[in-house]
């Protein structure tokens, strides 16, 4: 069987790729499109390291087939900063030292941005529940939650 030709938008740019029918979106993003900011953790939807936005929805790219994204918009961590200007969340993660090894960080940032777009003034509890699908095995969650709350405050102005 021939590979499927898929056209989609990644971080606002048109892109197309060939994929096997059972290939995941995560595999295509990392291995074909060379956007390696999105990480592979568990591959079973438990850890959130592969979080991306798919038509404005926060999803695990490891549980999405690449063939499903025909005509859709995908946003990855690579589209988060504006060139050299970091997104407020990215800056706050650095200021609060909300990362150590960094594997979970892109997923946390994508998930946190999705939260703040929906709810610009979340409580600590709301942040913790929203980020329950993102696992960090080294820093712990406290600094991450502080960074998100601080970013939210600055974004509200």
């Amino acid at each position: 069987m021939t590979r499927r030709h898929i056209e989609a938008k990644i971080n606002g740019d048109n892109c197309d790729f060939l994929c096997e029918s059972n290939e995941t979106l995560l595999s295509v993003i990392r291995n074909q499109l060379q956007l390696t900011g999105t990480k592979e953790g568990c591959s079973t939807g438990d850890c959130g390291a592969c979080s991306v936005m798919l038509d404005g929805r926060l999803v695990c790219s490891c549980l999405t087939l690449a063939v499903e994204v025909e005509g859709k918009n995908i946003d990855t961590i690579e589209g988060m900063s504006n060139g050299e200007d970091l997104h407020i969340l990215q800056r706050k993660f650095l200021e609060h030292a909300a990362l150590q090894c960094g594997i979970c960080t892109p997923g946390f940032l994508i998930a946190a941005r999705a939260l703040l777009e929906k709810n610009p003034n979340p409580t600590e509890t709301e942040v913790r529940y929203w980020l329950a699908g993102n696992l960090c095995r080294c820093t712990g969650y406290h600094k991450i939650v502080e960074a998100v709350l601080d970013a939210a405050e600055e974004m509200r102005g």
């Binding site: 029918s21 059972n22 939807g45 438990d46 929805r57 695990c60 929203w130 699908g133």
Partner: protein, 290 residues
Amino acid sequence: MKRVKKMQYESPKSIDDAISLISNSPGNVRLLAGGTDLLVQMQSQVADPDLVIDIKNIKEMKEFKKEDGVYTVGAAVTGMEIIEHEEFGSDWPGVVDGVKLIGSIQIKGRASMGGNLCNASPAADSIPAMIASGASAVIAGPNGRREVLVEDFIKGPGKTSLKSNEILLSVKFPIKKPNSSGAYLRFTPRTEMDIAVVGVGINVTMSDSGICEEAKVSIGAVAEKALVVEDAATALVGNKITDEIIENFISKVRASARPINDKRGTVDFRIQVIGVIAKRALKMALERIR
């Protein structure tokens, strides 16, 4: 993902096309909505389908509508779409309680209530809530459509009454009665990202004078499938909800539970806790009517 054979992917635009694909494919066919169960099974080689039929491009599967008081939730409508539907949430809060507990935000961005139903886990969070609400499964097949109550749709762990050439189209809710409400609660060691040790869905209708007119109770994770506990409903109907009535209600719930011992809980623990959770769910539903 390790592969031994080529998987085909089809994304039909109509129910008829989907049924014809499913009927004419000799190999192992799986339907794809959110994929949060199917892809995990494929990754771990529990599932190795020859053909995956993506149902998300069928308009009816994504429809979420209210007509003459009856909600129809397409089988591919995602958890987040259900959670964000404020009017549905105020009519069927117990169902939304259940849907909210299905995995993380990421999972609910893709996972559908229809998928939770078809996956037929005995611990599925939305199923007792759907049952307590009197919801039906709308099924499409080569000879037309049929409807079955959710409690009759589920046959056992991973087993439904869907025939091999049938597809779940939607979940349909009855007209909501005035002075009625519902709740779903579960017990888990963690508050998020966990699987129910026990779960209780309940819907109650009260009279103006505080008499319970109607009740439906369903318990999850304590049998091979979610059960309807008629005795527990009978214990409430016709009565004011006093402490004594609640104790009777709890004992009927406990008497119906027939759990197994596993790493998530022992038989004794589950029977004890399901009574506690049932009482809380009842109080939550009553609170919501006020």
